[in-house]
Symmetry: C2
């Protein structure tokens, strides 16, 4: 407990040299004493999420990995949730950009399918970020910036649905919602291993989600009349 642990850097790797010298700027070997601990924390959090999942993530481990004191992160983030929220915001931005890019032009049904495919592929390619966005159990009322950042990805479902059902906003909303839920289901089952593992599984899940989106667009009339 009170052992003078030299720290996870072992005493050899950490910041170079020993005492007071070795200011960063001359020979900082990848350590983060250069004034952007905030960004470094977000990067490291993404790493840790990828390795051990959201559940196991801790501020202390992030600090350890960056070679800073456990108190340092609290200069930049009020608490654990705030750091995870910052990661979720980054995730939402990247997801939105990707969906906009991949579901850009084309006929409305294909745009819906492309949005679903992009959603699932993002989950596969950026597993850690996706988990931060949807699996961190963030209190949405405390971090409205996450929902704000997620707006673009929602729009990527809503916009083609609206193009497909002009003049019937409620029906368009239902179609967008159904496609989004379908994509989401494929994404989380994929991460859960239900489609197998590896690139093959990711392609299967993404392709199936896209196909399902087409089928939903095709059968959009059904969505307006839920069975009893």
């Amino acid at each position: 407990m009170t052992t003078p642990d030299p720290g996870p850097n072992g005493g050899a790797a950490g910041r170079a040299g020993g005492g007071a010298g070795s200011r960063p700027g001359s020979a900082r070997r990848g350590r983060y004493h250069h004034g952007d601990l905030r960004a470094a924390l977000i990067d490291t959090t993404v790493e840790l999420l990828g390795e051990r999942g959201v559940q196991a993530f801790s501020m202390a481990e992030a600090s350890r990995r960056l070679g800073v004191a456990v108190a340092a992160p609290y200069r930049h983030f009020a608490d654990r949730g705030a750091l995870l929220a910052a990661v979720a915001v980054r995730a939402a931005r990247l997801l939105g950009e990707r969906m906009e890019r991949e579901a850009g032009p084309g006929p409305a049904p294909q745009r819906l399918a492309a949005a679903a495919r992009a959603y699932v592929r993002f989950a596969a390619d950026q597993r850690a970020l996706f988990q931060a966005l949807v699996g961190a159990g963030l209190d949405k009322s405390r971090y409205p910036e996450v929902e704000e950042a997620a707006r673009a990805s929602i729009q990527a479902f809503v916009s083609p649905a609206a193009a497909l059902l002009p003049g019937d906003a409620p029906a368009a909303a239902r179609l967008a919602s159904a496609v989004a839920a379908t994509a989401h289901g494929h994404a989380v089952l994929l991460l859960d291993g239900a489609f197998g593992h590896g690139e093959q599984a990711a392609g299967d899940a993404a392709g199936q989600a896209a196909a399902a989106a087409l089928a939903l667009a095709d059968g959009r009339a059904r969505l307006t009349t839920p069975a009893p």
Copy 2:
């Protein structure tokens, strides 16, 4: 660290009396000293999951609520995961029964829709059990009994899909998988609040999942040819 902490009961509230007297048996007030701690633990775990989520569940809190020592549960469950797995097995059984019951007879597309609806309704009605089943992050290789118990619910998707696509097992598997993923997506988004809250939201999500299942059954030909 070495302070003589009297324990979380504070020293005043705990089990009655002070010294060695007050054995249970004469006046046990609803406590669980009657020999079925195992079942009581499962019940209490379900309660706790419903109140605070899987993430926050702990063996210690379950023990506290039952008025037993924190060590007692380890007589019945090797560790936290084993207890959660037991709850997941119960969840899988109930889900399977419900899906079999509600998706019983009728035309294949309607059975698929009923299976999807039952899946979402189960998530809504038995939120805690559903979370134990899908959100506990259980190591499936350690607890194969969970997958075994979940077989019936999977079958409720597979069986009508096979009836709809006789002689084409791969296509049937894809349809079943797509409907299951769609139902799952609606379920988790519902629990995440994406459909709103309350009975209304549950009905919306379940109805939409059922409608989507019909649309997928209708457009099943698309599922066999995933877009590029």
